[in-house]
Amino acid sequence: MIPAAFDYEVAESTDHAVQLLGEHGDDAKLLAGGHSLLPLMKLRLARPSVLIDIGGLSDLAYIKDAGDHVEIGALTRMCDIAASDLLRRHCGLIAEAAGQVGDPQVRHRATIGGSLAHGDPASDPPVALLTVDAELVVRGPGGERTVPASGFFTNFFETALGPQDLLTSVRVPKLAAGTGWSYQKFHRRAIDWAIVGVAALVERDDGTVKRAAVGLTNMATTPLRSAGVESALAGRPASAEAFAEAAAHAPEGTNPPSDTNASAEYRTALSSILVRRALEAAVA
């Protein structure tokens, strides 16, 4: 459990972090909470030659009301997101998903930015953010830009972040009043990643589904939106029967992994069960 040798730099500011990334390029990794990166380094599966520690950038740790959305600084810890009244009020799904990560010790270290930048399809918050159509704010050598969550996750542990980019915040749209949500995480142990997870939003209009958004955790090489389920629901009554029919579409477009916890076949079966349960819970 000793990582390969590396150099260590401390970023004094966001600009300094971007500057350090510019100096070290591909060989550098940003260190935030360290709960994804450090285990990989200790197993020598990751061998960055430089670590740029952004843990001291306290101005990136915040949750604030920004009008039509809630903005979460990239260095905000999972425990603070899980406990945020502001998020619980306007987009409880994000708080719920953050509260499902790891265990309390992990949630007190791990950051939302680190979780997103890591790009793990088995992680809970990325799917929740994808499901609510969040926007990610990125600072790079060319200045600041925003990337929709739908365009952020590009492949297995790969994102739209370039080697000199720093994710600075996440913009979470406030949900329309009456929008129900649920996050169903299926796992064997509380500390585990999801075998399959399902995030669901259901916006109703007089008993009819006005809009549904469904995200899948650990069902592909990236966090996934389930277009098949969403389109099957649009305009349908918010009924158990409609939910069950829509849930049958959950496997469409997925490519789940097989591992010692679950086969792809089992994950596929679970996805439909959990989508149905998530939809039912969202309107309950």
């Binding site: 142990r189 509380a190 500390i191 075998i195 591992d259 010692t260 916890n261 679950a262 069960i273």
Partner: protein
């Protein structure tokens, strides 16, 4: 004079806890020696490969690297291979197991070379730079495949993968089966488990080159046995070797072992004349520390039409892994006598076949043979119940051996110390609210709920307190099973208890102090307990097989009673009466009929120390040693009941309630016993629902870390409801104690699995694989219900 309060049966704050709670306990990895080198082992990534060459030149050129040794480099230095102490049968194959392999790697993680460097990081970097030329060889990981004709051989020179066969037979089994109107037969697979102590292994060898002396610190359960075994491997005489097990963070049998790294640290320290430390990483632990279980069982019962058992027959294949370690072949034998559980019958047969495979060696894991035996009998008796149309409670009551308080024979061929199996079952049913659970189950069945309830029982009998030395001889084990204690009183009446059992979480210091406090009437706080050091506590056989109270504790008590006898003579002398004229209670001798004329043990310790006025011929001082070799085992038993809720859509199993009623005889410290029961049950639940060591066909351990070897955490397991049953004292020893370290792990897996099967019995389910993971349960449901599971 005030009589000291009895501490036995109470739970004073544990003596061990202040340093544990404050993080001040020193484990092996906390120790450092001047000039110490760090060792890293280069391990084979292949499950089976010929080693064609090792090029260490790059590693040797790196900063801080002092030496690299391969198996070939050290071949001439060994006095012998690692100790295998249990040649169970004449046909046993025991290929030599060298600390580093010289020619072939036979499992993933087999040691190929060691790197010594001035820091752990440098040694780790250099180990990566050692270039080993491997020629991969055919691999076999499955036992049945390993016994097939033409299978790849783990040890080519042995000509077979069959390690041994061993049989136990009582009565005319074939005739009983032939005549029986009812026979049930099932096949069970007990998956491989990884013991997973919180502290991985760690070793420091500290040489004194000028004196030719060595101190070996090791995170071991067995410092005394390691000391003897190191003579065999390294040739360092016992008189020159001190072995210390400092604070040790759990073992569960995995540290009941003599490991390559202990011998390697000693040998390399000898060669280099410097202290050498090795600390195991977790993933390394999963490859290099022994595994447990891994059996394929064919279980059969012969019975009459009512379900009364007549005969038992079990044919069992046991995965040895790639080498035989200290008791690898003997581990299943520790369960061989209790495949009958607590049931009667006329004929009994158990056959074991040991099988070599290209996997990490197996050996003792909490319960060692008895969890496997208990699983087989507690599963097959439910199959019998189904066959004759009885419920699980009824079939058990029909077959229980009658209650007894004197030694009584059982079908396995041993004589049990005491037992009342109906009594523990009664209490468990009561604590579980069994009838209410059955009603709730019925309601959910009728409603067709997605989540169904199941109730599982396990009424077990185990044997522990390893072990009577004569029995060990009969089983061809190389050592004895006695243990020792010395009690020494200081002039002011403080007490040192020096015990030969070696704790790694059991609370010896507390429990032994309670025994001595009551025997000598000396305050608990005035008693210190010294263990785990072959110089300070030279006589001992260490800790495993639930022996520390049943053997070690009895030795402590006997040593204390020797102190009582000596102080009685001093008291009689001082009071000018004869020995027989004294009453003794809780540390006070008083003259019969004149209780005011009294002497206490602490005061008499002063007399023994000054020696001013001792009886003629008595030696000064107050120190006594007792060595206790039991005449029989002790036989804990009990009834466990598990209620589960099974999600019939996903296969997820949740435990609603778990009741453990264990009669472990006299309880010294209830809190420690509760802790052992709960910990053991949870470890058994882990085997039933979570944990499985999975190998790929090419011998790669796929569950080589805590992220995918599913050790449950507190949030994943229920609270355990605990009962003690009738607390019948053991008739084996005068304390009346039985062991409790393994009962939970022995009893719980079948209770949980029986519950899962019961929850799905309305679907026709009669078996579910271990572990009953969500996917395994889901597949079971699908196979019986054509896929919809609703």
């Amino acid at each position: 004079m005030a009589v000291a309060e009895r501490t036995i049966g109470t739970s004073p704050p544990r003596k061990e806890d202040p340093e544990l709670i404050t993080g001040q306990a020193r484990y092996t990895d906390d120790l450092t020696m001047p000039g110490m080198l760090h060792m890293v082992v280069v391990r084979s990534p292949f499950a089976h490969a010929r080693i064609k060459g090792v090029d260490a030149s790059k590693a040797l050129a790196m900063d801080g690297v002092v030496a690299v040794y391969t198996g070939a480099d050290l071949a001439a230095d060994w006095a012998g291979p690692l100790l295998m102490a249990w040649a169970v049968s004449e046909d046993l194959k025991n290929p030599p197991h060298w600390p580093l392999t010289k020619d072939e790697a036979r499992h993933q993680g087999d040691g190929v070379a060691v790197v010594l460097a001035t820091s752990r990081a440098a040694a780790k970097d250099a180990a990566e730079a050692v270039e080993v030329d491997y020629e991969p060889l055919p691999v076999v990981v499955d036992m049945e495949a390993a016994l097939a004709d033409g299978a790849p051989l783990v040890h080519e020179d042995q000509g077979t993968n069959k390690a041994y066969t061993w049989s136990l037979k009582n009565g005319d089994v074939d005739a009983v089966f032939a005549a029986a109107p009812v026979v049930v037969k099932e096949r069970y697979v007990i998956q491989r488990a990884i013991p997973t102590a919180i502290e991985t292994r760690a070793v420091i060898a500290d040489p004194s080159p000028a004196m030719g002396e060595y101190t070996l610190w090791s995170a071991t359960q067995i410092p005394h046995i390691v000391r003897v075994a190191m003579v065999v491997a390294t040739g360092i005489p016992e008189s020159k070797l001190r072995v210390i097990a400092p604070r040790v963070g759990g073992g569960f049998g995995s540290k009941l072992q003599v490991y390559a790294e202990e011998a390697l640290c000693l040998l390399v320290a000898k060669k280099l004349g410097r202290p050498v430390k090795w600390v195991e990483e977790r993933s390394e632990n999963y490859l290099a520390t022994h595994h447990g279980r891994d059996q394929i069982q064919v279980a059969e019962l012969a019975a009459d039409e009512q379900g009364k058992i007549r005969g038992f027959r079990f044919n069992i294949m046991v995965n040895m892994g790639a080498y035989l370690m200290i008791i690898t072949p003997g581990t299943p034998l520790l369960g061989a006598f209790v495949y009958c559980g607590c049931y009667g019958g006329d004929a009994y047969e158990v056959n074991f076949t040991g099988v070599f495979t290209n996997t990490t060696p197996t050996d003792a894991y909490r319960g060692a043979g008895r969890p496997e035996a208990t699983y087989a009998i507690e599963r097959i008796i439910e199959a019998l119940a189904r066959k004759v149309g009885k419920d699980p409670v009824e079939i058990r009551r029909l077959n229980f051996l009658p209650a007894f308080t004197e030694p009584t024979p059982m079908p396995g061929g041993l004589s049990i110390d005491s037992g009342n199996y109906d009594a523990t079952l009664d209490q468990a049913l009561e604590l579980a609210g069994y009838d209410q659970l059955r009603k709730e189950q019925q309601v959910r069945r009728e409603r067709g709920d997605t989540k169904q309830i199941g109730i599982g029982l396990s009424t077990y009998l185990e044997m522990c307190g390893l072990a009577p030395s004569r029995v060990l001889k009969a089983l061809n084990y190389a050592a004895g099973g006695w243990d020792a204690a010395t009690i020494r009183l200081s002039p002011t009446g403080k007490v040192q208890v020096i015990a030969g059992t070696s704790p790694h979480g059991q609370g010896h210091a507390t429990t032994f102090a309670q025994i001595v406090a009551d025997d000598l009437g000396i305050p608990f706080d005035d008693i210190e307990v010294i263990t785990g050091d072959t110089t300070l506590a030279p006589l001992g056989m260490d800790t495993y097989g639930s022996r520390s109270i049943a053997i070690g504790g009895v030795a402590v008590h006997r040593a204390a009673m020797k102190i009582v006898e000596k102080t009685r003579r001093i008291a009689a002398h001082e009071l000018e009466v004869s020995d027989e004229d004294l009453d003794y209670a809780s540390g006070t001798f008083s003259v019969k009929g004149a209780p005011d004329r009294a002497k206490t043990v602490p005061g008499l310790a002063w007399s023994a120390w000054t020696a001013h006025d001792l009886p003629d011929g008595m030696e000064p001082g107050l120190e006594e040693t007792a060595v206790y070799d039991a005449a029989n085992f002790v036989f804990p038993y009990g009834a466990h009941i598990c209620a589960v809720e099974v999600d019939t859509e996903t296969g997820q199993v949740d435990i609603l309630k778990y009741v453990a009623v264990d009669d472990v005889g006299v309880v010294i410290n209830p809190q420690i016993v509760d802790g052992q029961v709960a910990g053991g049950v949870i470890q058994g639940i882990a085997e039933a629902l979570f944990e499985e060591a999975v190998y790929s066909d090419d011998g790669q351990l796929l569950t080589a870390s805590l992220t995918n070897y599913e050790v449950p955490a507190a949030s994943d397991v229920p609270s355990i409801v605990i009962g003690r049953g009738p607390e019948l004292p053991s008739t084996t020893n005068e304390l009346g104690v039985k062991g409790v370290g393994e009962t939970g792990t022995i009893a719980s897996p079948p209770a949980v699995i029986n519950a899962v099967i019961d929850a799905l019995s309305h679907l026709g389910v009669t078996d579910v694989p271990r572990p009953a993971s969500p996917e395994n349960v889901w597949r079971t449901i699908r196979s019986t219900r054509g896929g919809d599971g609703r």
